[in-house]
């Protein structure tokens, strides 16, 4: 092969590469890949994402092949897994945890023909990266309302994973709505510094219970906090997180936040198939069915159940925003004025507690 033909083939290859990216063509068949931070058997976060993946398979049948990898650590390992998937013929890759943010963008730069979808992050550095998230804080508002009314000790607890905006938002929403119905309520926050370590999550729940907390919300991935609450014999209630966790109903699990990713995944893979995929930023909530409130059990008085459901419907209708002023930051400085609702930008970068929460934010 002389130099001229080599250059010609290179030019042809380049042209082909540009051709496919410029006019996104419809695909006959696609391979959709999913990266999970925990095992799909966690019955929480990763389990729900996997349900979405299965829904994609069901919706498109033979046209779509799905592939997934469980328990991928956030960090260098994630980049290796993503590269492998991209080389292995994946057309679209969903990375389903905040900590994959940089890895997703780094790998996306190397594979411009592969679409990447990153959950709960905020970086879109390349045209083939889209981001998506769910407004979990809407569900936390309803849980906070229930917690404020149900607590007898006026002590409620929250097991946090990492101090990132997604979690901090939930804590603030939970506290504000508990405080609204019960001015005496106090919130204890425990950071587990892990998404998934059942023994540690259980120990954290036990520490809360031992100190008089009787309503526990968790933003970690396993059912261990509910299992621990169940040991208290009905004195402590909690909520299903990410998944319905109905095994623990009617008590301690009195309600839940269900992440329903299926509609989004089906829509996005569909867009890939018919060539209309674009880099988007989606943040859907109760209204769009991406955040569902699991059945409120009979362990809750009927009156309170009705209130909680009314709150849910107001949020769904858009007539109520969980972050409506006046709200001050923890240090007393003003955040939202009377009647003002929180802009999305403020929420996505939230790194402060609201006034009244005693715990310090870890640096």
């Amino acid at each position: 092969m002389n130099r001229r033909t080599l250059l010609a083939t290179a030019a042809l290859g380049l042209g082909l590469a540009f051709g496919t990216t410029a006019s996104a063509e419809a695909l006959e068949k696609a391979k959709a890949c999913f990266v999970y931070v925990g095992p799909i058997g966690d019955l929480g976060w990763s389990y729900q994402h996997h349900q979405g993946a299965l829904a994609v398979k069901e919706a498109y049948g033979d046209k779509v092949e799905i592939q997934w990898q469980e328990s991928v650590p956030e960090g260098a390992d994630a980049e290796r897994v993503l590269t492998q998937m991209a080389l292995g013929g994946c057309n679209i890759i969903f990375t389903t945890s905040f900590g994959y943010m940089d890895a997703t963008n780094a790998v996306a730069a190397k594979f411009p023909n592969v679409k990447f979808e990153h959950a709960t992050g905020f970086k879109r550095e390349h045209p083939n990266v889209a981001i998506y998230n769910a407004r979990f804080y809407e569900g936390r508002a309803i849980q906070g309302h229930i917690a404020g009314k149900m607590t007898k000790s006026n002590k409620i607890g929250y097991i946090g994973s990492f101090p990132i905006p997604e979690v901090v938002m939930g804590i603030n929403s939970y506290y504000l709505h508990a405080k609204k119905v019960n001015p005496d309520v106090e919130l204890s926050v425990v950071w587990a510094f892990t998404w998934f370590d059942p023994a540690k999550e259980a120990d954290a729940a036990k520490a809360l219970i031992d100190q008089g907390v009787d309503v526990i919300a968790a933003h970690t991935d396993s059912t261990a906090p509910l299992a621990e609450a169940a040991k208290a014999g009905g004195k402590v209630i909690g909520f299903g997180q990410a998944s319905d966790m109905l095994d623990y109903a009617p008590s301690p699990r009195v309600s839940s936040i269900i992440d329903n990713w299926a509609p989004y995944y089906v829509k996005r893979v569909g867009a890939l198939l018919d060539g209309t995929w674009e880099s988007t930023d989606t943040w859907a909530g109760i209204k769009d069915g991406e955040v569902e409130i699991g059945q409120i059990t009979d362990a809750i008085p009927a009156e309170l159940k009705a209130e909680a459901e009314a709150l849910r419907d107001q949020i769904a209708a858009g007539s109520y925003h969980p972050f409506t002023g006046p709200i001050n930051k923890q240090d007393g400085s003003a955040w939202l004025a009377e009647g003002q609702t929180a802009p999305d930008g403020d929420l996505l970068g939230m790194n402060f507690f609201v006034e009244g929460i005693k715990a310090d934010m870890p640096k």
């Binding site: 023994a199 259980a202 100190q211 261990a224």
Partner: protein, 308 residues
């Protein structure tokens, strides 16, 4: 720090230290017999899954613990056959055992994710459990807690006062001399390794049946390595193993409790506290006159082959 109830804290500490106490006691006996088995983590997690499966299938938590001990012992038997029979390197084999155990447990546990095991009831002490202070600390636990404490004294007595214990220690100090006296070095060591495996398995089963209670991959989360550290920390004495287990379990429980109580100490320092204390204690111990190294069994980690 007003929110922390010291009575409940001590009760929680005792429960949290049970798995590492079991595993460390087993490893102590193994090491006193002159074998270094670094596969504690692997044996624990296999015990956790076999115990869980047995308990779920039979509906009896008691049988679950037996299953956990058997599972741990079976993995230990593999280690024993390799190191004592085929004279492989103990350190390498032990590490391989951990890696194998983690994968094997994950495979066995595939169909058992998200299932609730039968609950282990507390020992019914009746009115004794209602005594203030003493009740929750002493009389409010499940049978395994009492078994773990009983094992501390049993192992102590066995090593110090029984003939079999003296023989076991002789094997660990000088296998050549013990062999010359006519003791079956390999057989004694193999039995010690089996005991160590059973204890680690029991500790693992306690994690999956009582502390969490459910099965998930990687449930022991490094408890086996802590158990190994505790044996050195305890300078190979059972009563100090108890102290070490309580120290470790205590600090991890305390750090979560301090967070709940709204401590001013940053979370990161609390999280690393157990490891800092371990390093500190090891430094103090090995710098004093009674050097930790001197307390180690003289034949620890050496392979034995009867040439005569």
């Amino acid at each position: 720090m007003g929110g922390i109830d010291p009575v409940l804290l001590i009760a929680a500490l005792i429960v949290a230290s049970v798995p590492i106490l079991f595993a460390a006691l087993g490893e102590l006996v193994v090491e006193r017999a002159g074998v270094l088995n670094l596969g504690v983590e692997g044996m624990m997690i296999v015990g956790a899954v076999t115990g869980f499966i047995t308990a779920v299938e039979t509906g009896s938590p008691l049988l679950g613990y037996v299953g956990g001990a058997l599972g741990g012992a079976m993995l230990a038997a593999v280690f024993g056959a390799l190191t004592l029979g085929l004279l492989t390197n103990q350190v390498a084999t032990g590490l391989a055992l951990t890696l194998f155990g983690l994968g094997f447990a994950s495979l066995m546990g595939q169909g058992y994710v998200g299932i609730k095991p039968p609950l282990t009831a507390d020992v019914p002490f009746g009115p004794l459990a209602d005594i203030p202070v003493l009740g929750p600390i002493v009389f409010g636990h499940d049978p395994l807690v009492y078994l773990s404490l009983g094992m501390v004294f049993a192992v102590q007595w066995f090593l110090r006062a029984s003939r079999a214990g003296l023989v076991l220690r002789a094997v660990g100090e000088s296998h050549e001399a013990a062999h010359a006296l006519g003791y079956k070095v390999v057989r004694i060591r193999f039995l010690a390794v089996l005991f160590g495996g059973a204890m680690a398995g029991l500790g693992g089963a306690y994690v999956s049946l009582v502390r969490v209670p459910q099965w998930v991959d990687g449930i022991t989360a490094g408890a086996g390595w802590i158990a190994l550290a505790i044996v050195v920390f305890a300078s190979w004495r059972p009563n100090r193993v108890l102290l070490g287990a309580w120290l470790f379990g205590g600090i991890s429980v305390l750090q979560l409790n301090l967070q709940v109580a709204g401590s001013v100490i940053p979370v990161e320092y609390l999280s690393m506290a157990p490891y800092l204390v371990t390093i500190l204690v090891l430094v103090i111990m090995s710098s004093g006159r009674g050097k930790a190294a001197l307390a180690a069994p003289a034949a620890l980690g050496q392979t034995f082959h009867a040439t005569r």
